[in-house]
Protein backbone atom coordinates (compact mmCIF):
# COMPACT_ATOMS: atom_id res chain seq x y z
CA UNK A 1 0.00 0.00 0.00
CA UNK A 2 1.18 3.54 -0.68
CA UNK A 3 1.14 6.30 1.93
CA UNK A 4 -1.99 7.82 0.42
CA UNK A 5 -3.78 4.48 0.37
CA UNK A 6 -2.90 3.82 4.00
CA UNK A 7 -4.10 7.26 5.12
CA UNK A 8 -7.25 6.75 3.09
CA UNK A 9 -7.81 3.36 4.72
CA UNK A 10 -7.42 4.87 8.21
CA UNK A 11 -10.01 7.58 7.57
CA UNK A 12 -12.36 5.09 5.84
CA UNK A 13 -12.32 2.67 8.81
CA UNK A 14 -12.80 5.56 11.26
CA UNK A 15 -15.79 6.77 9.22
CA UNK A 16 -17.29 3.29 9.11
CA UNK A 17 -16.95 2.82 12.88
CA UNK A 18 -18.64 6.18 13.37
CA UNK A 19 -21.50 5.32 11.01
CA UNK A 20 -22.08 1.99 12.80
CA UNK A 21 -22.31 3.65 16.20
CA UNK A 22 -25.68 3.00 17.78
CA UNK A 23 -27.12 4.50 20.90
CA UNK A 24 -27.63 1.84 23.57
CA UNK A 25 -28.47 1.57 27.25
CA UNK A 26 -32.10 2.55 26.77
CA UNK A 27 -33.32 -0.22 29.09
CA UNK A 28 -30.67 0.18 31.78
CA UNK A 29 -32.36 3.17 33.40
CA UNK A 30 -35.71 1.40 33.51
CA UNK A 31 -34.01 -1.76 34.81
CA UNK A 32 -32.80 0.21 37.84
CA UNK A 33 -35.68 2.69 38.05
CA UNK A 34 -38.62 0.33 38.48
CA UNK A 35 -37.01 -1.93 41.13
CA UNK A 36 -35.84 1.16 43.07
CA UNK A 37 -39.24 2.86 43.03
CA UNK A 38 -41.19 -0.34 43.81
CA UNK A 39 -38.87 -1.62 46.58
CA UNK A 40 -38.87 1.80 48.29
CA UNK A 41 -42.68 1.92 48.12
CA UNK A 42 -42.86 -1.60 49.61
CA UNK A 43 -40.46 -0.55 52.36
CA UNK A 44 -42.63 2.49 53.08
CA UNK A 45 -45.76 0.30 53.27
CA UNK A 46 -43.97 -2.28 55.46
CA UNK A 47 -42.83 0.42 57.88
CA UNK A 48 -46.35 1.84 58.11
CA UNK A 49 -47.86 -1.59 58.74
CA UNK A 50 -45.25 -3.35 60.95
CA UNK A 51 -42.77 -0.64 61.92
CA UNK A 52 -40.07 -3.25 62.70
CA UNK A 53 -36.29 -2.91 62.31
CA UNK A 54 -36.09 -5.49 59.53
CA UNK A 55 -38.35 -3.32 57.36
CA UNK A 56 -35.58 -0.73 56.96
CA UNK A 57 -33.33 -3.42 55.38
CA UNK A 58 -35.76 -4.06 52.54
CA UNK A 59 -33.76 -1.63 50.35
CA UNK A 60 -31.24 -4.48 49.84
CA UNK A 61 -33.81 -5.75 47.32
CA UNK A 62 -32.85 -2.90 44.96
CA UNK A 63 -29.39 -4.23 44.03
CA UNK A 64 -30.64 -7.82 44.24
CA UNK A 65 -33.18 -7.13 41.49
CA UNK A 66 -31.39 -4.29 39.67
CA UNK A 67 -27.96 -5.92 39.22
CA UNK A 68 -29.18 -9.07 37.36
CA UNK A 69 -31.43 -6.87 35.21
CA UNK A 70 -28.46 -4.63 34.41
CA UNK A 71 -26.30 -7.61 33.39
CA UNK A 72 -29.13 -8.92 31.22
CA UNK A 73 -29.66 -5.57 29.44
CA UNK A 74 -25.91 -5.03 28.98
CA UNK A 75 -25.62 -8.44 27.31
CA UNK A 76 -28.62 -7.65 25.15
CA UNK A 77 -27.01 -4.35 24.04
CA UNK A 78 -23.72 -6.08 23.25
CA UNK A 79 -25.51 -8.77 21.23
CA UNK A 80 -26.95 -5.98 19.11
CA UNK A 81 -23.91 -3.76 18.56
CA UNK A 82 -20.99 -6.21 19.14
CA UNK A 83 -18.96 -3.26 20.43
CA UNK A 84 -18.85 -0.64 23.14
CA UNK A 85 -17.82 2.96 22.64
CA UNK A 86 -15.75 5.01 25.09
CA UNK A 87 -18.81 7.09 26.12
CA UNK A 88 -20.87 3.97 26.79
CA UNK A 89 -18.07 2.56 28.91
CA UNK A 90 -17.73 5.80 30.92
CA UNK A 91 -21.49 5.84 31.60
CA UNK A 92 -21.50 2.17 32.57
CA UNK A 93 -18.56 2.54 34.95
CA UNK A 94 -20.14 5.65 36.48
CA UNK A 95 -23.42 3.81 37.22
CA UNK A 96 -21.61 0.74 38.57
CA UNK A 97 -19.73 3.07 40.90
CA UNK A 98 -22.97 4.82 41.93
CA UNK A 99 -24.58 1.44 42.66
CA UNK A 100 -21.53 0.38 44.67
CA UNK A 101 -21.45 3.68 46.61
CA UNK A 102 -25.18 3.37 47.28
CA UNK A 103 -24.83 -0.21 48.57
CA UNK A 104 -21.76 0.47 50.73
CA UNK A 105 -23.24 3.74 52.05
CA UNK A 106 -26.58 2.11 52.88
CA UNK A 107 -24.92 -0.80 54.69
CA UNK A 108 -22.62 1.50 56.67
CA UNK A 109 -25.52 3.78 57.61
CA UNK A 110 -27.59 0.75 58.66
CA UNK A 111 -24.88 -0.49 61.03
CA UNK A 112 -24.05 3.02 62.28
CA UNK A 113 -27.72 3.58 63.14
CA UNK A 114 -28.04 6.73 61.00
CA UNK A 115 -29.91 5.05 58.14
CA UNK A 116 -33.27 6.81 58.78
CA UNK A 117 -31.74 10.28 58.85
CA UNK A 118 -29.39 10.20 55.85
CA UNK A 119 -29.91 7.33 53.42
CA UNK A 120 -32.74 8.67 51.26
CA UNK A 121 -31.03 12.05 50.73
CA UNK A 122 -27.74 10.25 49.97
CA UNK A 123 -29.28 7.85 47.47
CA UNK A 124 -31.39 10.59 45.87
CA UNK A 125 -28.34 12.78 45.38
CA UNK A 126 -26.37 9.89 43.84
CA UNK A 127 -29.21 9.10 41.41
CA UNK A 128 -29.63 12.77 40.48
CA UNK A 129 -25.91 13.25 39.89
CA UNK A 130 -25.69 10.10 37.77
CA UNK A 131 -28.68 11.15 35.68
CA UNK A 132 -27.28 14.68 35.20
CA UNK A 133 -23.84 13.44 34.11
CA UNK A 134 -25.32 10.82 31.78
CA UNK A 135 -27.38 13.55 30.13
CA UNK A 136 -24.28 15.70 29.66
CA UNK A 137 -22.23 12.84 28.16
CA UNK A 138 -25.03 11.77 25.79
CA UNK A 139 -26.09 15.35 24.92
CA UNK A 140 -29.61 14.37 25.95
CA UNK A 141 -31.15 17.40 27.62
CA UNK A 142 -34.21 15.75 29.29
CA UNK A 143 -31.84 13.58 31.32
CA UNK A 144 -29.78 16.59 32.37
CA UNK A 145 -32.90 18.47 33.50
CA UNK A 146 -34.33 15.42 35.34
CA UNK A 147 -30.94 15.02 37.07
CA UNK A 148 -31.05 18.60 38.33
CA UNK A 149 -34.65 18.21 39.58
CA UNK A 150 -33.82 14.88 41.29
CA UNK A 151 -30.76 16.39 42.99
CA UNK A 152 -32.89 19.28 44.26
CA UNK A 153 -35.56 16.86 45.52
CA UNK A 154 -32.93 14.91 47.44
CA UNK A 155 -32.82 17.71 50.02
CA UNK A 156 -36.45 17.07 51.07
CA UNK A 157 -35.78 13.83 53.06
CA UNK A 158 -33.44 15.80 55.33
CA UNK A 159 -36.47 17.71 56.63
CA UNK A 160 -38.47 14.54 57.32
CA UNK A 161 -36.87 13.33 60.55
CA UNK A 162 -38.09 11.52 63.68
CA UNK A 163 -41.48 9.86 63.32
CA UNK A 164 -41.80 11.24 59.81
CA UNK A 165 -38.82 9.27 58.48
CA UNK A 166 -40.81 6.57 56.60
CA UNK A 167 -42.11 9.38 54.41
CA UNK A 168 -38.53 9.87 53.22
CA UNK A 169 -38.94 6.57 51.38
CA UNK A 170 -41.89 7.97 49.50
CA UNK A 171 -39.79 10.98 48.44
CA UNK A 172 -36.89 8.67 47.48
CA UNK A 173 -39.31 6.66 45.36
CA UNK A 174 -40.42 9.88 43.67
CA UNK A 175 -36.75 10.76 43.06
CA UNK A 176 -36.28 7.35 41.39
CA UNK A 177 -39.23 8.16 39.11
CA UNK A 178 -37.76 11.58 38.22
CA UNK A 179 -34.11 10.45 37.88
CA UNK A 180 -34.54 7.02 36.31
CA UNK A 181 -38.03 6.14 35.07
CA UNK A 182 -39.13 9.34 33.26
CA UNK A 183 -35.74 9.98 31.53
CA UNK A 184 -35.48 6.22 30.92
CA UNK A 185 -38.73 6.19 28.91
CA UNK A 186 -37.84 9.42 27.10
CA UNK A 187 -34.39 8.06 26.23
CA UNK A 188 -35.84 4.74 25.08
CA UNK A 189 -38.18 6.38 22.60
CA UNK A 190 -35.36 8.72 21.45
CA UNK A 191 -32.97 5.78 20.88
CA UNK A 192 -35.57 3.78 18.95
CA UNK A 193 -36.42 6.78 16.77
CA UNK A 194 -32.76 7.53 16.07
CA UNK A 195 -31.66 3.96 15.43
CA UNK A 196 -34.60 3.37 13.08
CA UNK A 197 -34.04 6.54 11.06
Amino acid sequence: MTTTEELDLISRVRGEVLSRKELTGENLFLGWGYPTAIVLLLEFAALLIWNEDWCSWLWVGIPLIGAPLMIYFLNEDYERTHSRTLEQNVILMMWIFIGFASFVGGTAMGFAGVFPSCYCAYQGLLMGMGCFMTGIILHFRPKTICGIIASALSAIPLFLQGDLWPWQLLVASLIAVVALIIPGHLFRSYVRRRNNS
Partner: protein, 111 residues
Protein backbone atom coordinates in the same frame (compact mmCIF):
# COMPACT_ATOMS: atom_id res chain seq x y z
CA UNK B 1 19.23 17.30 -1.81
CA UNK B 2 16.44 17.09 0.71
CA UNK B 3 17.44 16.31 4.33
CA UNK B 4 14.13 14.53 4.95
CA UNK B 5 14.47 11.12 6.60
CA UNK B 6 11.69 8.63 6.09
CA UNK B 7 10.25 7.45 9.40
CA UNK B 8 10.83 3.82 10.29
CA UNK B 9 7.71 1.86 9.38
CA UNK B 10 6.30 -0.34 12.13
CA UNK B 11 6.14 -3.81 10.50
CA UNK B 12 3.34 -4.96 12.82
CA UNK B 13 1.02 -2.17 11.69
CA UNK B 14 2.17 -2.22 8.07
CA UNK B 15 -0.44 -4.74 7.01
CA UNK B 16 -3.87 -3.82 5.71
CA UNK B 17 -5.89 -6.08 7.99
CA UNK B 18 -3.85 -5.36 11.13
CA UNK B 19 -4.07 -1.62 10.49
CA UNK B 20 -7.86 -1.89 10.04
CA UNK B 21 -8.21 -3.80 13.33
CA UNK B 22 -6.10 -1.25 15.18
CA UNK B 23 -7.95 1.77 13.76
CA UNK B 24 -11.35 0.22 14.57
CA UNK B 25 -10.32 -0.59 18.14
CA UNK B 26 -8.77 2.87 18.57
CA UNK B 27 -12.19 4.43 17.89
CA UNK B 28 -13.97 2.12 20.35
CA UNK B 29 -13.58 0.94 23.92
CA UNK B 30 -13.88 -2.72 22.91
CA UNK B 31 -15.33 -4.84 20.15
CA UNK B 32 -16.01 -8.53 19.71
CA UNK B 33 -14.75 -10.90 17.03
CA UNK B 34 -17.97 -10.63 15.01
CA UNK B 35 -17.72 -6.83 14.83
CA UNK B 36 -14.08 -6.97 13.70
CA UNK B 37 -14.97 -9.59 11.08
CA UNK B 38 -17.62 -7.25 9.64
CA UNK B 39 -15.63 -4.02 9.77
CA UNK B 40 -12.47 -5.54 8.27
CA UNK B 41 -14.39 -7.67 5.78
CA UNK B 42 -12.13 -10.64 6.45
CA UNK B 43 -12.39 -14.36 7.09
CA UNK B 44 -12.39 -15.76 10.62
CA UNK B 45 -9.13 -17.65 10.17
CA UNK B 46 -7.22 -14.70 8.81
CA UNK B 47 -8.63 -12.39 11.45
CA UNK B 48 -7.64 -14.80 14.24
CA UNK B 49 -4.06 -14.94 12.96
CA UNK B 50 -3.78 -11.14 12.75
CA UNK B 51 -5.34 -10.68 16.19
CA UNK B 52 -2.82 -13.15 17.65
CA UNK B 53 0.01 -11.17 16.04
CA UNK B 54 -1.26 -7.88 17.49
CA UNK B 55 -1.72 -9.51 20.88
CA UNK B 56 1.83 -10.87 20.83
CA UNK B 57 3.10 -7.36 20.07
CA UNK B 58 1.20 -6.11 23.14
CA UNK B 59 -0.99 -3.79 21.07
CA UNK B 60 -4.35 -5.34 21.97
CA UNK B 61 -5.94 -7.22 24.84
CA UNK B 62 -8.03 -10.27 24.05
CA UNK B 63 -10.50 -11.66 26.56
CA UNK B 64 -12.92 -14.54 26.33
CA UNK B 65 -16.17 -14.70 28.23
CA UNK B 66 -19.01 -17.23 28.34
CA UNK B 67 -18.92 -20.92 27.59
CA UNK B 68 -19.21 -23.11 24.50
CA UNK B 69 -21.63 -21.76 21.91
CA UNK B 70 -22.15 -18.63 23.95
CA UNK B 71 -18.48 -17.68 24.29
CA UNK B 72 -17.45 -14.24 23.13
CA UNK B 73 -13.98 -12.99 22.23
CA UNK B 74 -13.58 -9.32 23.02
CA UNK B 75 -10.64 -7.16 21.92
CA UNK B 76 -9.53 -3.78 23.18
CA UNK B 77 -6.54 -1.62 22.34
CA UNK B 78 -3.76 -1.19 24.93
CA UNK B 79 -1.99 2.08 25.79
CA UNK B 80 1.07 0.74 23.94
CA UNK B 81 -1.05 -0.03 20.89
CA UNK B 82 -2.60 3.42 20.92
CA UNK B 83 0.87 5.01 21.08
CA UNK B 84 2.16 2.82 18.24
CA UNK B 85 -0.84 3.63 16.04
CA UNK B 86 -0.52 7.34 16.70
CA UNK B 87 3.22 7.26 15.86
CA UNK B 88 2.52 5.23 12.72
CA UNK B 89 -0.15 7.68 11.57
CA UNK B 90 2.11 10.64 12.26
CA UNK B 91 4.88 8.97 10.23
CA UNK B 92 2.49 8.45 7.32
CA UNK B 93 1.42 12.08 7.43
CA UNK B 94 5.04 13.25 7.43
CA UNK B 95 5.78 11.03 4.46
CA UNK B 96 2.66 12.26 2.70
CA UNK B 97 3.63 15.90 3.34
CA UNK B 98 7.06 15.17 1.85
CA UNK B 99 5.62 13.33 -1.14
CA UNK B 100 3.08 15.97 -2.15
CA UNK B 101 5.51 18.93 -2.60
CA UNK B 102 7.90 16.60 -4.47
CA UNK B 103 5.09 15.58 -6.83
CA UNK B 104 4.04 19.21 -7.29
CA UNK B 105 7.65 20.11 -8.08
CA UNK B 106 7.80 17.33 -10.67
CA UNK B 107 4.57 18.57 -12.23
CA UNK B 108 5.93 22.12 -12.50
CA UNK B 109 9.18 20.87 -14.08
CA UNK B 110 7.23 18.75 -16.56
CA UNK B 111 5.18 21.78 -17.56
Amino acid sequence: MSSFKFPVINPVLHGELRLKIMVALDSLNDADFMYLCQITDSTRGNLSAQIAMLKDAGYINVSKSGLGRFSRTTCSITARGREALSAYEEGLRKMFAQEVPAQEERTIINL
